[in-house]
Protein backbone atom coordinates (compact mmCIF):
# COMPACT_ATOMS: atom_id res chain seq x y z
CA UNK A 1 0.00 0.00 0.00
CA UNK A 2 2.74 2.41 1.02
CA UNK A 3 4.80 1.59 -2.06
CA UNK A 4 1.81 2.07 -4.34
CA UNK A 5 1.05 5.38 -2.69
CA UNK A 6 4.63 6.56 -3.07
CA UNK A 7 4.67 5.49 -6.72
CA UNK A 8 1.50 7.45 -7.38
CA UNK A 9 2.91 10.48 -5.58
CA UNK A 10 6.06 10.37 -7.66
CA UNK A 11 3.98 9.83 -10.79
CA UNK A 12 2.00 13.01 -10.06
CA UNK A 13 5.20 14.93 -9.31
CA UNK A 14 6.82 13.62 -12.48
CA UNK A 15 3.76 14.50 -14.53
CA UNK A 16 3.80 17.90 -12.89
CA UNK A 17 7.36 18.43 -14.06
CA UNK A 18 6.53 17.40 -17.60
CA UNK A 19 2.84 18.16 -18.08
CA UNK A 20 1.79 20.71 -20.63
CA UNK A 21 -1.76 21.81 -19.94
CA UNK A 22 -4.92 20.90 -18.13
CA UNK A 23 -8.42 21.92 -19.05
CA UNK A 24 -11.20 23.81 -17.39
CA UNK A 25 -14.40 21.85 -17.79
CA UNK A 26 -17.35 24.23 -18.11
CA UNK A 27 -18.91 25.13 -14.75
CA UNK A 28 -21.55 27.46 -13.41
CA UNK A 29 -21.46 29.77 -10.40
CA UNK A 30 -23.48 32.71 -9.13
CA UNK A 31 -22.11 36.20 -9.73
CA UNK A 32 -22.21 39.01 -7.16
CA UNK A 33 -25.70 39.98 -8.34
CA UNK A 34 -27.06 36.50 -7.66
CA UNK A 35 -27.24 35.53 -11.35
CA UNK A 36 -26.05 32.04 -12.29
CA UNK A 37 -23.36 32.25 -14.98
CA UNK A 38 -21.64 29.51 -16.95
CA UNK A 39 -17.93 29.93 -17.51
CA UNK A 40 -18.57 29.52 -21.25
CA UNK A 41 -20.85 32.61 -21.07
CA UNK A 42 -18.33 34.92 -19.44
CA UNK A 43 -14.98 33.78 -20.88
CA UNK A 44 -13.02 35.78 -23.45
CA UNK A 45 -13.31 35.24 -27.18
CA UNK A 46 -9.61 34.28 -27.41
CA UNK A 47 -8.15 34.17 -23.90
CA UNK A 48 -9.44 34.34 -20.35
CA UNK A 49 -7.47 35.36 -17.29
CA UNK A 50 -9.04 33.48 -14.35
CA UNK A 51 -8.21 34.80 -10.87
CA UNK A 52 -8.97 32.82 -7.71
CA UNK A 53 -8.94 35.25 -4.77
CA UNK A 54 -10.34 36.06 -1.32
CA UNK A 55 -11.05 39.35 0.45
CA UNK A 56 -8.67 38.45 3.32
CA UNK A 57 -5.73 37.68 1.02
CA UNK A 58 -3.16 40.50 0.90
CA UNK A 59 -1.46 39.62 -2.43
CA UNK A 60 -4.90 39.24 -4.03
CA UNK A 61 -5.66 42.88 -3.25
CA UNK A 62 -2.37 43.99 -4.79
CA UNK A 63 -3.32 42.18 -7.98
CA UNK A 64 -6.70 43.91 -8.39
CA UNK A 65 -5.47 47.22 -9.95
CA UNK A 66 -3.30 45.27 -12.42
CA UNK A 67 -6.17 42.95 -13.35
CA UNK A 68 -8.52 45.92 -13.76
CA UNK A 69 -5.99 47.53 -16.11
CA UNK A 70 -5.58 44.28 -18.09
CA UNK A 71 -9.36 43.97 -18.36
CA UNK A 72 -9.59 47.54 -19.69
CA UNK A 73 -6.64 47.25 -22.12
CA UNK A 74 -7.19 43.74 -23.51
CA UNK A 75 -10.96 43.44 -23.83
CA UNK A 76 -10.87 44.70 -27.43
CA UNK A 77 -8.31 41.97 -28.22
CA UNK A 78 -10.61 39.15 -27.14
CA UNK A 79 -9.30 38.77 -23.57
CA UNK A 80 -11.54 38.81 -20.52
CA UNK A 81 -10.77 38.66 -16.82
CA UNK A 82 -12.97 36.35 -14.73
CA UNK A 83 -12.39 36.43 -11.01
CA UNK A 84 -13.61 33.67 -8.73
CA UNK A 85 -14.04 34.71 -5.13
CA UNK A 86 -13.44 31.93 -2.63
CA UNK A 87 -14.63 33.60 0.58
CA UNK A 88 -16.87 31.40 2.71
CA UNK A 89 -20.64 32.10 2.64
CA UNK A 90 -20.16 34.10 5.85
CA UNK A 91 -18.08 36.64 3.93
CA UNK A 92 -19.44 36.34 0.43
CA UNK A 93 -22.04 39.09 0.95
CA UNK A 94 -19.11 41.46 1.56
CA UNK A 95 -17.71 40.79 -1.90
CA UNK A 96 -20.11 43.08 -3.77
CA UNK A 97 -19.34 46.20 -1.70
CA UNK A 98 -15.69 45.21 -1.76
CA UNK A 99 -15.73 44.94 -5.56
CA UNK A 100 -17.26 48.39 -5.82
CA UNK A 101 -14.69 49.94 -3.49
CA UNK A 102 -11.82 48.30 -5.38
CA UNK A 103 -13.27 49.28 -8.79
CA UNK A 104 -13.26 45.69 -10.08
CA UNK A 105 -14.50 46.18 -13.65
CA UNK A 106 -14.64 42.51 -14.60
CA UNK A 107 -16.82 39.45 -13.98
CA UNK A 108 -16.82 38.25 -10.36
CA UNK A 109 -18.17 34.78 -9.62
CA UNK A 110 -18.67 33.32 -6.14
CA UNK A 111 -17.43 29.88 -5.17
CA UNK A 112 -18.31 29.87 -1.43
CA UNK A 113 -18.29 26.08 -1.08
CA UNK A 114 -15.01 25.74 -2.96
CA UNK A 115 -16.34 23.29 -5.57
CA UNK A 116 -14.62 24.88 -8.61
CA UNK A 117 -11.61 25.75 -6.45
CA UNK A 118 -11.19 22.08 -5.54
CA UNK A 119 -11.88 20.89 -9.08
CA UNK A 120 -8.95 22.98 -10.34
CA UNK A 121 -6.74 21.99 -7.40
CA UNK A 122 -6.31 25.59 -6.26
CA UNK A 123 -4.72 25.58 -2.81
CA UNK A 124 -3.09 29.04 -2.61
CA UNK A 125 -4.29 32.56 -3.36
CA UNK A 126 -4.18 34.26 -5.72
CA UNK A 127 -3.94 31.56 -8.35
CA UNK A 128 -4.16 32.88 -11.90
CA UNK A 129 -4.81 30.83 -15.02
CA UNK A 130 -4.58 31.92 -18.64
CA UNK A 131 -7.07 29.83 -20.58
CA UNK A 132 -7.58 29.65 -24.36
CA UNK A 133 -10.85 29.33 -26.28
CA UNK A 134 -10.63 25.52 -26.06
CA UNK A 135 -10.56 25.91 -22.23
CA UNK A 136 -6.98 24.65 -22.11
CA UNK A 137 -4.89 26.10 -19.30
CA UNK A 138 -1.88 27.69 -20.98
CA UNK A 139 -0.28 29.24 -17.94
CA UNK A 140 -0.62 29.08 -14.16
CA UNK A 141 0.71 31.64 -11.72
CA UNK A 142 0.54 31.54 -7.92
CA UNK A 143 0.94 34.61 -5.71
CA UNK A 144 1.44 38.22 -6.81
CA UNK A 145 4.71 40.13 -6.66
CA UNK A 146 5.77 43.53 -8.02
CA UNK A 147 6.30 43.10 -11.75
CA UNK A 148 3.82 40.21 -12.07
CA UNK A 149 1.30 42.50 -13.79
CA UNK A 150 3.80 43.17 -16.59
CA UNK A 151 4.67 39.47 -16.82
CA UNK A 152 0.99 38.60 -17.23
CA UNK A 153 0.74 41.14 -20.05
CA UNK A 154 3.78 39.60 -21.76
CA UNK A 155 2.26 36.13 -21.48
CA UNK A 156 -1.07 37.35 -22.87
CA UNK A 157 0.72 39.10 -25.76
CA UNK A 158 2.71 35.95 -26.52
CA UNK A 159 -0.35 33.68 -26.44
CA UNK A 160 -2.34 36.11 -28.59
CA UNK A 161 0.50 36.15 -31.14
CA UNK A 162 0.57 32.33 -31.14
CA UNK A 163 -3.17 32.20 -31.62
CA UNK A 164 -3.79 30.84 -28.12
CA UNK A 165 -1.72 27.69 -28.56
Amino acid sequence: MKILFLRLTFLVMLLGFSARAGEIADFELKDINGQTKKFSMVRGEKLTLVDFWATWCKPCLKAIPKLAAISRDYESRGVKVVSINTDSPRNSSKVKPFARMYRMNYTILLDPNGIVTARLNVNAYPTLFIVNEKNEILYTHIGFRPGDGEQLRKKLDAFLEDGGE
Binding site: K2, G34, W56, D87, G147
Partner: protein, 485 residues
Protein backbone atom coordinates in the same frame (compact mmCIF):
# COMPACT_ATOMS: atom_id res chain seq x y z
CA UNK B 1 -9.45 -1.98 -0.05
CA UNK B 2 -7.33 1.18 -0.20
CA UNK B 3 -5.00 -0.41 -2.74
CA UNK B 4 -7.95 -1.47 -4.90
CA UNK B 5 -9.37 2.06 -4.74
CA UNK B 6 -6.10 3.61 -5.86
CA UNK B 7 -5.74 1.17 -8.76
CA UNK B 8 -9.38 1.67 -9.75
CA UNK B 9 -8.92 5.42 -9.70
CA UNK B 10 -5.89 5.27 -11.94
CA UNK B 11 -7.26 2.71 -14.40
CA UNK B 12 -10.95 3.55 -14.63
CA UNK B 13 -10.51 7.05 -16.11
CA UNK B 14 -8.27 5.57 -18.83
CA UNK B 15 -11.10 3.32 -20.01
CA UNK B 16 -13.83 5.94 -19.91
CA UNK B 17 -11.50 8.70 -21.23
CA UNK B 18 -12.17 10.98 -18.28
CA UNK B 19 -10.22 14.17 -17.69
CA UNK B 20 -7.88 13.54 -14.76
CA UNK B 21 -6.34 16.33 -12.73
CA UNK B 22 -4.30 16.15 -9.60
CA UNK B 23 -2.04 17.88 -7.18
CA UNK B 24 0.51 16.81 -4.65
CA UNK B 25 1.75 18.63 -1.58
CA UNK B 26 4.89 17.25 0.05
CA UNK B 27 6.17 18.92 3.22
CA UNK B 28 9.49 17.80 4.63
CA UNK B 29 10.67 19.02 8.04
CA UNK B 30 13.92 18.59 9.88
CA UNK B 31 13.79 20.20 13.28
CA UNK B 32 11.58 20.16 16.33
CA UNK B 33 9.64 22.14 18.87
CA UNK B 34 11.89 24.51 20.83
CA UNK B 35 13.75 22.73 23.62
CA UNK B 36 12.58 19.29 22.45
CA UNK B 37 14.93 16.48 21.51
CA UNK B 38 16.05 15.37 19.07
CA UNK B 39 16.45 18.82 17.56
CA UNK B 40 16.92 17.23 14.12
CA UNK B 41 13.74 15.13 14.13
CA UNK B 42 12.67 14.62 10.53
CA UNK B 43 9.25 13.93 9.05
CA UNK B 44 7.48 14.01 5.70
CA UNK B 45 3.82 14.81 5.22
CA UNK B 46 2.33 14.13 1.81
CA UNK B 47 -1.11 14.85 0.44
CA UNK B 48 -2.10 13.55 -2.97
CA UNK B 49 -5.34 14.75 -4.56
CA UNK B 50 -6.73 13.17 -7.71
CA UNK B 51 -9.89 14.06 -9.59
CA UNK B 52 -11.48 12.49 -12.62
CA UNK B 53 -14.21 14.36 -14.47
CA UNK B 54 -16.34 12.57 -17.02
CA UNK B 55 -19.50 14.25 -18.30
CA UNK B 56 -21.66 14.81 -15.19
CA UNK B 57 -19.63 12.55 -12.96
CA UNK B 58 -16.73 13.53 -10.75
CA UNK B 59 -14.51 11.17 -8.78
CA UNK B 60 -12.30 12.57 -6.03
CA UNK B 61 -9.61 10.79 -4.08
CA UNK B 62 -7.29 12.10 -1.39
CA UNK B 63 -4.41 10.11 0.05
CA UNK B 64 -2.40 11.38 3.01
CA UNK B 65 0.75 9.94 4.46
CA UNK B 66 3.00 10.90 7.31
CA UNK B 67 6.46 9.41 7.52
CA UNK B 68 8.34 9.76 10.77
CA UNK B 69 10.74 7.54 12.66
CA UNK B 70 8.21 6.08 15.10
CA UNK B 71 4.77 4.54 15.36
CA UNK B 72 3.02 7.81 14.57
CA UNK B 73 3.44 7.34 10.82
CA UNK B 74 0.37 6.56 8.71
CA UNK B 75 -0.86 6.04 5.14
CA UNK B 76 -4.55 6.78 4.59
CA UNK B 77 -7.02 7.19 1.80
CA UNK B 78 -8.65 10.05 3.68
CA UNK B 79 -11.24 11.21 1.15
CA UNK B 80 -13.13 9.51 -1.63
CA UNK B 81 -16.10 11.03 -3.36
CA UNK B 82 -18.43 10.26 -6.22
CA UNK B 83 -20.44 13.28 -7.39
CA UNK B 84 -23.15 13.15 -10.03
CA UNK B 85 -24.98 16.26 -11.23
CA UNK B 86 -27.87 16.42 -13.65
CA UNK B 87 -30.48 19.07 -14.36
CA UNK B 88 -30.33 20.75 -10.95
CA UNK B 89 -29.85 17.52 -8.97
CA UNK B 90 -26.54 16.69 -7.32
CA UNK B 91 -25.77 13.46 -5.50
CA UNK B 92 -22.58 13.14 -3.48
CA UNK B 93 -21.50 9.85 -1.94
CA UNK B 94 -18.35 9.80 0.14
CA UNK B 95 -16.49 12.71 1.71
CA UNK B 96 -18.18 16.02 0.97
CA UNK B 97 -18.45 19.59 2.27
CA UNK B 98 -21.77 21.25 3.04
CA UNK B 99 -23.02 24.27 4.93
CA UNK B 100 -26.48 25.14 6.20
CA UNK B 101 -27.19 28.90 6.18
CA UNK B 102 -24.09 30.76 7.31
CA UNK B 103 -22.94 27.75 9.25
CA UNK B 104 -24.44 28.23 12.72
CA UNK B 105 -25.67 24.62 12.67
CA UNK B 106 -23.48 23.00 10.07
CA UNK B 107 -20.35 24.15 8.34
CA UNK B 108 -17.86 21.81 6.76
CA UNK B 109 -14.69 23.41 5.44
CA UNK B 110 -11.13 23.05 4.31
CA UNK B 111 -8.25 25.46 4.76
CA UNK B 112 -6.32 24.73 1.53
CA UNK B 113 -2.62 24.05 1.84
CA UNK B 114 -2.64 24.06 5.66
CA UNK B 115 -0.99 21.19 7.50
CA UNK B 116 -2.16 20.84 11.09
CA UNK B 117 0.05 19.34 13.78
CA UNK B 118 -1.50 17.70 16.84
CA UNK B 119 0.21 18.71 20.08
CA UNK B 120 -0.14 15.32 21.77
CA UNK B 121 0.72 12.80 19.07
CA UNK B 122 2.73 15.27 16.93
CA UNK B 123 0.99 13.82 13.88
CA UNK B 124 0.63 16.16 10.92
CA UNK B 125 -2.45 16.06 8.69
CA UNK B 126 -4.58 18.17 6.36
CA UNK B 127 -6.80 20.77 8.02
CA UNK B 128 -10.34 20.06 6.88
CA UNK B 129 -13.67 19.02 8.32
CA UNK B 130 -15.81 16.99 5.93
CA UNK B 131 -18.78 14.64 6.24
CA UNK B 132 -18.53 11.01 5.19
CA UNK B 133 -21.89 9.93 3.94
CA UNK B 134 -24.57 11.00 1.49
CA UNK B 135 -25.62 14.44 0.25
CA UNK B 136 -28.57 15.12 -2.03
CA UNK B 137 -29.05 18.59 -3.46
CA UNK B 138 -31.67 20.18 -5.69
CA UNK B 139 -31.17 23.67 -7.10
CA UNK B 140 -33.76 24.66 -9.66
CA UNK B 141 -36.93 26.71 -10.16
CA UNK B 142 -36.08 28.95 -7.20
CA UNK B 143 -35.57 26.01 -4.81
CA UNK B 144 -32.33 25.17 -3.04
CA UNK B 145 -32.76 22.00 -1.01
CA UNK B 146 -29.95 20.00 0.58
CA UNK B 147 -30.11 16.87 2.68
CA UNK B 148 -27.14 15.31 4.48
CA UNK B 149 -26.59 12.00 6.22
CA UNK B 150 -23.16 11.12 7.49
CA UNK B 151 -20.38 11.36 9.98
CA UNK B 152 -18.48 14.66 10.32
CA UNK B 153 -14.77 14.51 10.94
CA UNK B 154 -13.59 15.71 14.33
CA UNK B 155 -10.37 17.23 13.04
CA UNK B 156 -8.91 17.86 16.48
CA UNK B 157 -8.57 14.07 16.86
CA UNK B 158 -5.49 12.98 14.85
CA UNK B 159 -5.42 9.97 12.48
CA UNK B 160 -3.72 7.87 15.17
CA UNK B 161 -7.10 7.44 16.91
CA UNK B 162 -8.74 5.84 13.87
CA UNK B 163 -11.97 6.40 12.02
CA UNK B 164 -14.25 5.21 14.85
CA UNK B 165 -13.15 8.00 17.15
CA UNK B 166 -12.61 10.65 14.49
CA UNK B 167 -16.09 10.12 13.08
CA UNK B 168 -18.01 9.08 16.17
CA UNK B 169 -20.96 11.39 15.56
CA UNK B 170 -23.81 10.91 13.10
CA UNK B 171 -25.62 13.95 11.69
CA UNK B 172 -28.77 13.98 9.61
CA UNK B 173 -30.31 17.19 8.36
CA UNK B 174 -32.09 19.08 5.67
CA UNK B 175 -32.18 22.69 4.54
CA UNK B 176 -34.72 24.17 2.15
CA UNK B 177 -34.70 27.69 0.72
CA UNK B 178 -37.11 29.20 -1.78
CA UNK B 179 -36.49 32.31 -3.84
CA UNK B 180 -39.75 34.26 -3.39
CA UNK B 181 -38.18 37.45 -4.73
CA UNK B 182 -34.71 39.03 -4.80
CA UNK B 183 -35.65 40.75 -1.55
CA UNK B 184 -36.92 37.66 0.21
CA UNK B 185 -35.43 34.18 0.18
CA UNK B 186 -36.70 32.35 3.25
CA UNK B 187 -35.52 28.96 4.42
CA UNK B 188 -35.92 26.28 7.07
CA UNK B 189 -33.28 24.03 8.59
CA UNK B 190 -33.48 20.82 10.63
CA UNK B 191 -30.55 18.87 12.02
CA UNK B 192 -30.23 15.84 14.28
CA UNK B 193 -26.99 14.84 15.92
CA UNK B 194 -26.33 11.42 17.48
CA UNK B 195 -23.29 10.83 19.65
CA UNK B 196 -22.54 8.79 22.77
CA UNK B 197 -26.03 7.21 22.56
CA UNK B 198 -27.59 10.66 22.91
CA UNK B 199 -29.68 12.34 20.27
CA UNK B 200 -30.11 16.11 19.98
CA UNK B 201 -32.22 17.91 17.40
CA UNK B 202 -32.12 21.50 16.22
CA UNK B 203 -34.29 23.56 13.93
CA UNK B 204 -33.78 26.95 12.39
CA UNK B 205 -35.22 29.57 10.10
CA UNK B 206 -33.40 32.02 7.90
CA UNK B 207 -34.11 34.80 5.46
CA UNK B 208 -31.93 36.65 3.01
CA UNK B 209 -32.36 39.18 0.25
CA UNK B 210 -30.66 41.81 -1.83
CA UNK B 211 -31.44 45.04 -3.60
CA UNK B 212 -29.34 47.47 -5.61
CA UNK B 213 -27.85 49.18 -2.57
CA UNK B 214 -28.11 46.65 0.23
CA UNK B 215 -28.37 43.02 1.20
CA UNK B 216 -29.32 41.31 4.45
CA UNK B 217 -29.20 37.94 6.14
CA UNK B 218 -30.94 36.71 9.29
CA UNK B 219 -30.73 33.25 10.86
CA UNK B 220 -32.14 31.77 14.07
CA UNK B 221 -31.40 28.25 15.26
CA UNK B 222 -32.29 26.52 18.50
CA UNK B 223 -32.36 23.16 20.17
CA UNK B 224 -35.65 21.31 19.78
CA UNK B 225 -37.87 20.84 22.83
CA UNK B 226 -37.50 24.35 24.26
CA UNK B 227 -39.68 27.44 23.95
CA UNK B 228 -38.08 30.01 21.63
CA UNK B 229 -36.00 32.66 23.43
CA UNK B 230 -37.09 31.44 26.88
CA UNK B 231 -34.50 31.37 29.65
CA UNK B 232 -32.34 28.28 29.28
CA UNK B 233 -33.12 27.62 25.60
CA UNK B 234 -29.94 26.86 23.62
CA UNK B 235 -30.05 29.12 20.56
CA UNK B 236 -27.96 31.06 18.05
CA UNK B 237 -29.15 34.27 16.43
CA UNK B 238 -27.02 35.73 13.65
CA UNK B 239 -27.70 38.66 11.33
CA UNK B 240 -25.78 40.59 8.69
CA UNK B 241 -26.60 43.77 6.79
CA UNK B 242 -24.54 45.39 4.02
CA UNK B 243 -25.19 48.80 2.51
CA UNK B 244 -23.19 50.31 -0.32
CA UNK B 245 -23.05 53.54 -2.28
CA UNK B 246 -20.47 54.43 -4.92
CA UNK B 247 -17.63 55.26 -2.55
CA UNK B 248 -18.82 53.84 0.78
CA UNK B 249 -19.75 50.35 1.95
CA UNK B 250 -21.11 49.58 5.41
CA UNK B 251 -21.32 46.12 6.89
CA UNK B 252 -23.00 45.18 10.18
CA UNK B 253 -23.04 41.75 11.79
CA UNK B 254 -24.84 40.80 15.02
CA UNK B 255 -24.64 37.61 17.09
CA UNK B 256 -26.38 36.26 20.17
CA UNK B 257 -25.39 32.72 21.23
CA UNK B 258 -26.62 30.92 24.34
CA UNK B 259 -25.62 27.36 25.33
CA UNK B 260 -25.02 26.68 21.63
CA UNK B 261 -22.11 24.27 22.04
CA UNK B 262 -22.91 21.57 19.50
CA UNK B 263 -19.65 19.68 19.84
CA UNK B 264 -19.10 19.45 16.09
CA UNK B 265 -19.66 22.98 14.82
CA UNK B 266 -19.11 26.62 15.78
CA UNK B 267 -21.34 29.57 14.82
CA UNK B 268 -19.89 32.60 12.94
CA UNK B 269 -17.25 34.48 14.99
CA UNK B 270 -18.39 37.97 13.89
CA UNK B 271 -15.01 39.60 14.48
CA UNK B 272 -12.61 41.07 11.97
CA UNK B 273 -10.25 38.59 10.40
CA UNK B 274 -6.89 40.26 9.98
CA UNK B 275 -4.24 39.64 7.38
CA UNK B 276 -1.50 41.23 9.53
CA UNK B 277 0.22 38.48 11.53
CA UNK B 278 0.22 40.02 15.02
CA UNK B 279 -3.46 40.94 14.78
CA UNK B 280 -4.42 37.63 13.21
CA UNK B 281 -2.71 35.82 16.08
CA UNK B 282 -4.80 37.86 18.55
CA UNK B 283 -8.17 37.12 16.92
CA UNK B 284 -10.98 36.72 19.45
CA UNK B 285 -12.34 33.17 19.69
CA UNK B 286 -16.11 33.16 20.26
CA UNK B 287 -17.59 31.30 23.21
CA UNK B 288 -20.93 29.92 21.90
CA UNK B 289 -22.02 28.96 25.41
CA UNK B 290 -22.76 32.65 26.03
CA UNK B 291 -21.78 35.43 23.69
CA UNK B 292 -23.49 38.49 22.29
CA UNK B 293 -21.85 41.08 20.09
CA UNK B 294 -21.53 42.89 16.82
CA UNK B 295 -19.08 43.91 14.13
CA UNK B 296 -19.44 47.15 12.18
CA UNK B 297 -17.17 47.87 9.24
CA UNK B 298 -17.00 50.84 6.89
CA UNK B 299 -14.98 50.70 3.69
CA UNK B 300 -14.33 53.95 1.81
CA UNK B 301 -12.87 54.39 -1.64
CA UNK B 302 -10.69 57.49 -1.49
CA UNK B 303 -9.75 57.65 -5.18
CA UNK B 304 -8.59 55.09 -7.74
CA UNK B 305 -7.90 51.85 -5.87
CA UNK B 306 -7.12 53.55 -2.56
CA UNK B 307 -9.25 52.57 0.41
CA UNK B 308 -9.82 53.37 4.08
CA UNK B 309 -11.26 50.68 6.37
CA UNK B 310 -12.77 51.37 9.79
CA UNK B 311 -13.89 48.47 11.94
CA UNK B 312 -15.39 48.15 15.41
CA UNK B 313 -16.36 44.88 17.05
CA UNK B 314 -17.55 43.90 20.50
CA UNK B 315 -18.46 40.66 22.26
CA UNK B 316 -19.69 40.01 25.81
CA UNK B 317 -19.41 36.61 27.47
CA UNK B 318 -21.20 35.55 30.68
CA UNK B 319 -19.16 32.83 32.33
CA UNK B 320 -20.12 31.64 35.82
CA UNK B 321 -21.35 35.10 36.84
CA UNK B 322 -18.29 36.78 35.38
CA UNK B 323 -18.72 39.16 32.45
CA UNK B 324 -15.84 39.15 29.99
CA UNK B 325 -15.76 41.90 27.39
CA UNK B 326 -13.92 41.85 24.10
CA UNK B 327 -13.75 44.96 21.93
CA UNK B 328 -11.61 46.07 19.04
CA UNK B 329 -11.27 49.27 17.02
CA UNK B 330 -9.30 49.06 13.79
CA UNK B 331 -8.42 51.45 10.97
CA UNK B 332 -6.29 51.05 7.88
CA UNK B 333 -5.34 52.98 4.77
CA UNK B 334 -4.32 51.22 1.57
CA UNK B 335 -2.68 53.45 -1.00
CA UNK B 336 -1.24 52.86 -4.48
CA UNK B 337 1.43 55.29 -5.65
CA UNK B 338 4.18 55.78 -8.28
CA UNK B 339 2.53 53.29 -10.67
CA UNK B 340 4.03 50.14 -9.13
CA UNK B 341 4.09 50.86 -5.38
CA UNK B 342 1.47 50.28 -2.76
CA UNK B 343 1.39 50.69 0.99
CA UNK B 344 -0.94 49.78 3.82
CA UNK B 345 -0.82 51.25 7.31
CA UNK B 346 -3.02 50.27 10.25
CA UNK B 347 -3.73 51.04 13.90
CA UNK B 348 -5.70 48.84 16.28
CA UNK B 349 -6.84 49.08 19.89
CA UNK B 350 -8.48 46.16 21.65
CA UNK B 351 -9.21 44.23 24.83
CA UNK B 352 -9.99 40.54 25.31
CA UNK B 353 -10.88 39.70 28.91
CA UNK B 354 -11.27 35.99 28.09
CA UNK B 355 -7.50 36.04 27.52
CA UNK B 356 -6.97 38.48 30.40
CA UNK B 357 -5.59 41.03 27.92
CA UNK B 358 -6.28 44.74 28.20
CA UNK B 359 -4.95 47.93 26.55
CA UNK B 360 -3.75 46.02 23.49
CA UNK B 361 -2.30 48.51 21.00
CA UNK B 362 -1.09 47.35 17.61
CA UNK B 363 0.19 49.40 14.68
CA UNK B 364 2.18 48.77 11.57
CA UNK B 365 2.66 49.23 7.89
CA UNK B 366 3.63 47.37 4.77
CA UNK B 367 5.10 48.98 1.68
CA UNK B 368 5.86 47.11 -1.53
CA UNK B 369 6.82 47.99 -5.05
CA UNK B 370 9.04 47.50 -8.05
CA UNK B 371 12.64 48.71 -8.04
CA UNK B 372 13.05 47.58 -11.65
CA UNK B 373 10.60 46.08 -14.12
CA UNK B 374 11.24 42.62 -12.66
CA UNK B 375 12.63 43.10 -9.17
CA UNK B 376 10.51 44.18 -6.23
CA UNK B 377 11.05 45.04 -2.58
CA UNK B 378 8.68 44.78 0.39
CA UNK B 379 9.09 46.01 3.95
CA UNK B 380 6.70 45.25 6.77
CA UNK B 381 6.81 46.37 10.40
CA UNK B 382 4.24 45.51 13.07
CA UNK B 383 4.40 46.57 16.72
CA UNK B 384 2.12 45.45 19.54
CA UNK B 385 1.95 46.03 23.26
CA UNK B 386 -0.59 44.86 25.79
CA UNK B 387 -1.24 44.26 29.46
CA UNK B 388 -2.11 40.75 30.64
CA UNK B 389 -3.32 39.69 34.07
CA UNK B 390 -1.07 37.45 36.13
CA UNK B 391 1.91 38.08 33.88
CA UNK B 392 5.21 38.99 35.54
CA UNK B 393 5.97 41.83 33.11
CA UNK B 394 4.08 45.13 33.15
CA UNK B 395 3.76 45.36 29.40
CA UNK B 396 4.02 42.51 26.91
CA UNK B 397 5.61 43.74 23.68
CA UNK B 398 5.63 41.92 20.34
CA UNK B 399 7.36 43.08 17.18
CA UNK B 400 7.56 41.74 13.65
CA UNK B 401 9.92 42.89 10.89
CA UNK B 402 10.00 41.51 7.38
CA UNK B 403 12.07 42.44 4.35
CA UNK B 404 11.59 40.64 1.07
CA UNK B 405 13.06 40.76 -2.38
CA UNK B 406 11.22 39.31 -5.35
CA UNK B 407 11.81 38.68 -8.99
CA UNK B 408 8.70 38.42 -11.14
CA UNK B 409 7.20 36.05 -11.90
CA UNK B 410 8.86 33.17 -10.08
CA UNK B 411 11.13 33.96 -7.13
CA UNK B 412 11.07 35.69 -3.76
CA UNK B 413 13.24 35.62 -0.67
CA UNK B 414 12.28 37.14 2.68
CA UNK B 415 13.92 37.71 6.03
CA UNK B 416 11.51 37.61 8.93
CA UNK B 417 12.26 38.56 12.50
CA UNK B 418 9.84 38.40 15.41
CA UNK B 419 10.73 39.58 18.90
CA UNK B 420 8.84 39.39 22.20
CA UNK B 421 9.21 39.67 25.96
CA UNK B 422 6.10 37.56 26.57
CA UNK B 423 6.89 35.19 29.50
CA UNK B 424 4.56 32.55 27.98
CA UNK B 425 6.93 32.27 25.02
CA UNK B 426 10.22 32.32 26.93
CA UNK B 427 11.43 28.91 28.07
CA UNK B 428 14.81 29.75 29.61
CA UNK B 429 16.24 32.58 31.69
CA UNK B 430 16.19 35.14 28.89
CA UNK B 431 13.98 38.21 29.03
CA UNK B 432 13.61 38.55 25.27
CA UNK B 433 13.02 35.89 22.65
CA UNK B 434 13.70 36.18 18.91
CA UNK B 435 12.33 34.20 15.96
CA UNK B 436 14.53 34.84 12.93
CA UNK B 437 13.65 33.04 9.69
CA UNK B 438 14.48 32.87 6.02
CA UNK B 439 11.70 32.18 3.53
CA UNK B 440 12.27 31.34 -0.13
CA UNK B 441 9.62 30.78 -2.76
CA UNK B 442 10.39 29.53 -6.25
CA UNK B 443 7.77 28.78 -8.84
CA UNK B 444 9.61 26.53 -11.27
CA UNK B 445 6.85 26.50 -13.87
CA UNK B 446 3.08 26.34 -14.14
CA UNK B 447 3.06 23.00 -12.35
CA UNK B 448 5.66 23.04 -9.62
CA UNK B 449 6.54 25.42 -6.81
CA UNK B 450 8.94 25.23 -3.88
CA UNK B 451 8.65 26.93 -0.49
CA UNK B 452 11.54 26.83 1.92
CA UNK B 453 11.47 27.93 5.57
CA UNK B 454 14.60 27.94 7.67
CA UNK B 455 14.85 29.31 11.18
CA UNK B 456 12.48 29.66 14.11
CA UNK B 457 8.72 29.88 13.74
CA UNK B 458 6.60 31.45 16.45
CA UNK B 459 3.55 29.42 17.45
CA UNK B 460 0.11 30.70 18.28
CA UNK B 461 -3.34 31.12 16.80
CA UNK B 462 -3.87 31.47 13.07
CA UNK B 463 -7.25 32.31 11.58
CA UNK B 464 -8.40 31.81 7.99
CA UNK B 465 -11.92 31.92 6.58
CA UNK B 466 -13.47 32.30 10.04
CA UNK B 467 -11.64 29.21 11.33
CA UNK B 468 -8.92 29.53 13.95
CA UNK B 469 -6.38 26.84 14.73
CA UNK B 470 -3.18 26.49 16.71
CA UNK B 471 0.18 26.56 14.97
CA UNK B 472 2.98 24.87 16.91
CA UNK B 473 6.34 26.63 17.18
CA UNK B 474 9.14 25.11 15.14
CA UNK B 475 12.92 25.40 14.93
CA UNK B 476 14.49 23.99 11.81
CA UNK B 477 14.08 23.61 8.10
CA UNK B 478 10.87 23.00 6.19
CA UNK B 479 10.61 22.38 2.47
CA UNK B 480 7.27 22.26 0.71
CA UNK B 481 6.92 21.07 -2.89
CA UNK B 482 3.58 21.61 -4.56
CA UNK B 483 2.91 19.92 -7.86
CA UNK B 484 -0.15 20.04 -10.06
CA UNK B 485 -1.17 18.25 -13.24
Amino acid sequence: MNKALLILFVLLPLFIRAQVTGSNQAVFQIGNLPEQQPSDRSNLYNQLNLQANWQNIQLVLRAESYAVDDRRKYNNISQKLLRYSYNGFTVQIGNFYEMFGRGSLLRMYEIPGTVYEDTGTRQRYGFYRDIEGLNLRYEKNGWDVSAVYGRPLDLIIPPAYGREQRRSRLVQGVQALYNVSPLWRPGLVYLRSDANKQSTSYWGALSEGRAEMFDYYLEYNQQQGFDPLQEGTPYALYGAFNFYLDAVALSLEYKDYKKFTLGFNEPPPTVKEHSFTLLNRSTHSPEPNSETGFQLEALFNVGDFNTVTLNASRAVNQIAGFEAVFYEYYADLQYFFYETWQGKAFVDFSQDELLGETERYTAGFQVEGGITALWGLALEIQLQQLKRRFTPVDVVANQLFSLSLSRAPDFSVALLLERSNDPIEIYNNDTIIYWPALLVNYQMDSHTSFNLFYGRRRGGNACTGGICYRVLPFNGLELQITTRI
